[in-house]
């Protein structure tokens, strides 16, 4: 239903502004890749590209989850801490054979779901702001993790974890395939299912959603559970990629996942966003990180560029036209 005060009908043709608005990120990515290709001949080599994508996969998983939470006007600062906690949990089995991998995944998902439920419960039922609830969760998980490891984690991992995270089947990285499966599955949930519609309704206007028979609390809690589970799985894949457990696996992923989602046009005010655009944001972030290295700039410059990008992207989408 069109709002009554729509000033004028939208023109059929694609104006330049609309193209820029809708495909801005794709154009940006293309430009970045062109710059990277010119700046360094190694960039477009398949080996480098696959490498970039392999590093991107765990972040992509986290971003899928972060998107769900931001869509219901939330924010999850505990994802990175959860990733590290899951990584420590994975070593707690002291498993040396691959038989333990399903068990590790199961334990990780259960732990993540509990953490997500607590986050969601605090936000939805106890009216704690998402910022504070997930911040507190971040510190609590950090404390429990360090207390368990005594500051020095052990690194006994089944060899198959490494294969999952950096191995390939027919030349395609396994973790990239996993990301694709996750993205499609959660993409269907979000953009094609009833639950997805409810999520957008709650994010746009919780009160209206409630009046339409949607229970906002349940939807919000579910979004936090999805976010944490995605982060937990991302943590396992990152762990397999890194190979050794530290108490800080995934450090910085809370900021990066928010940057990527915002760059992908997920509105922090809730109710607007797309999983695949958010993943495009991951690609842009990764290309930029790679570009900084290829150009021989100090790695700290990534931080500066990331900061500029998140502010710029948020400002760009605020002035969106469509």
């Amino acid at each position: 239903m069109a709002p009554l005060d729509t000033p004028m009908p939208r023109s059929r043709g694609l104006s330049l502004a609309t193209v820029f608005e809708r495909y801005g990120l794709v154009i940006f990515l293309a430009v970045l890749m062109a710059v990277a290709a010119v700046a360094s001949p190694t960039f477009l080599r398949p080996a480098n590209l696959v490498n970039v994508l392999t590093i991107a996969a765990p972040l992509g998983m986290v971003v899928i989850g972060q998107t769900f939470v931001i869509l219901v006007r939330g924010l999850d600062l505990s994802v990175a801490s959860l990733m590290a906690t899951v990584a420590v949990l994975a070593t707690a089995f002291k498993a040396t054979t691959n038989d333990a991998i399903p068990l590790i995944f199961l334990a990780a998902i259960v732990l993540s779901a509990v953490v997500g439920f607590l986050n969601g419960w605090l936000v939805a039922r106890r009216n704690v702001s998402p910022f504070l609830a997930t911040l507190a969760m971040m510190i609590i998980l950090q404390g429990i993790r360090f207390a368990y490891t005594g500051g020095a984690p052990i690194s006994t991992l089944p060899p198959g974890m490494g294969f999952l995270a950096s191995g390939r089947i027919l030349g395609v990285p396994v973790n990239l395939m996993t990301l694709a499966v996750l993205a499609i599955a959660f993409g269907i949930v979000l953009h094609r299912s009833r639950l997805g519609r409810e999520i957008f309704m709650v994010g746009t206007n919780p009160k209206a959603a409630f009046l339409n028979g949607v229970a906002p609390d349940r939807v919000i809690i579910l979004c936090y559970v999805i976010c944490s589970v995605c982060a937990g799985i991302g943590g396992l894949f990152l762990l397999g990629y890194v190979g050794t457990v530290s108490n800080w696996v995934g450090q910085g992923y809370e900021l990066d996942s928010i940057v990527a989602a915002v760059m992908g046009g997920v509105a922090l005010t809730g109710g607007r966003g797309n999983i695949f655009a958010a993943l495009l944001g991951v690609a842009v972030l990764m290309v930029i990180n790679n570009l900084v290295l290829l150009l021989g700039f100090p790695i700290e410059m990534q931080l500066i560029i990331k900061g500029i990008i998140i502010i710029g992207a948020a400002a760009f989408y605020r002035t969106r036209l469509v």
């Binding site: 106890r126 704690v128 504070l132 928010i258 700290e300 410059m301 931080l303 502010i311 948020a314």
Partner: protein, 316 residues
Amino acid sequence: MSAIAMEIRRNRLVMSYLIVAMLLVVLVVAGGFLSDRFLTWRNVGNLFQQLIVLGMVSLGQTFVVLMGGIDLAIGSLVSALTVFLANFLEWRPDLVWLALPLALVAATAVGALNGLLTVVLRVHSLIVTLGMSSIIFGATLMYRKEPGGSVPRAFADVAYAKIAGIPVSAIILVAIFALAGLWLQRTRSGRSIYFVGGDREAARLNGLPVDRIVVLAYALSGLCAGIAAIFLTARTGVGDPRIGVALTLQSVTPVVVGGTILAGGRGGVLGTFLGVLLVTMLNNLLNFVNVSSYYQWVIQGLIIIIAVGIHTSRRR
């Protein structure tokens, strides 16, 4: 807002303060029982000496939160300033009189820039200050990756100076908090911070220069970070690009514990002061009874949740 509503709000705030004050008393008594070193003159002196860094960053955070925003750039700013101070003073130890004002001006300018960006770009303060934090941190690391620099003896003594047995830094802290409280309660510009935090649109319609007030709150937060950095540098004697990493989030805890609502417009500096005392004393006591810093993290997280729980359920 009607006078009655105002009165109820004020009473609720007083109740929040009373709860925190009661917790403080409980903590002191419990501390006295649990450890015979806790209530010694020496420990209390040490405790008050440590207060100023957390106190100042929390005060800055209070201004911004009252105005309805949040400042996540505080930690990076403090780190950057300690690096600047220690390296500048190593180069020219005689120019302390120049270095300190420079640091304060730079800090205020960065704070004001945060405010300007939120106002001009109309982007959420969380995003702006998160981005700024990343930029400042990256720039600081590009300059110095490891802790370094040094400070002249006279400057280092500032951190440990005492008048009649009372740490100078604690006196300064109390004076600044008192000034801040008076300013917020008694002046037009101070009260306008509450108005903007309570309802920005209404404040605008009432003719308040909202944008200027927003920038002012962030600038004050920057200034507070500058003061914190000066004392931190004096105490540690080096510039550490990572020293402030934890400060950003630590600065939020006393604000929330003190009953200032994150949505803005409600709370005050007295609550923050009590919150700073509570957090510092609790950590101090936990150290005495040999609770590892790992569990202190858990406790800090629980405190945030419990404090918010208490204050929100009171609001209902």
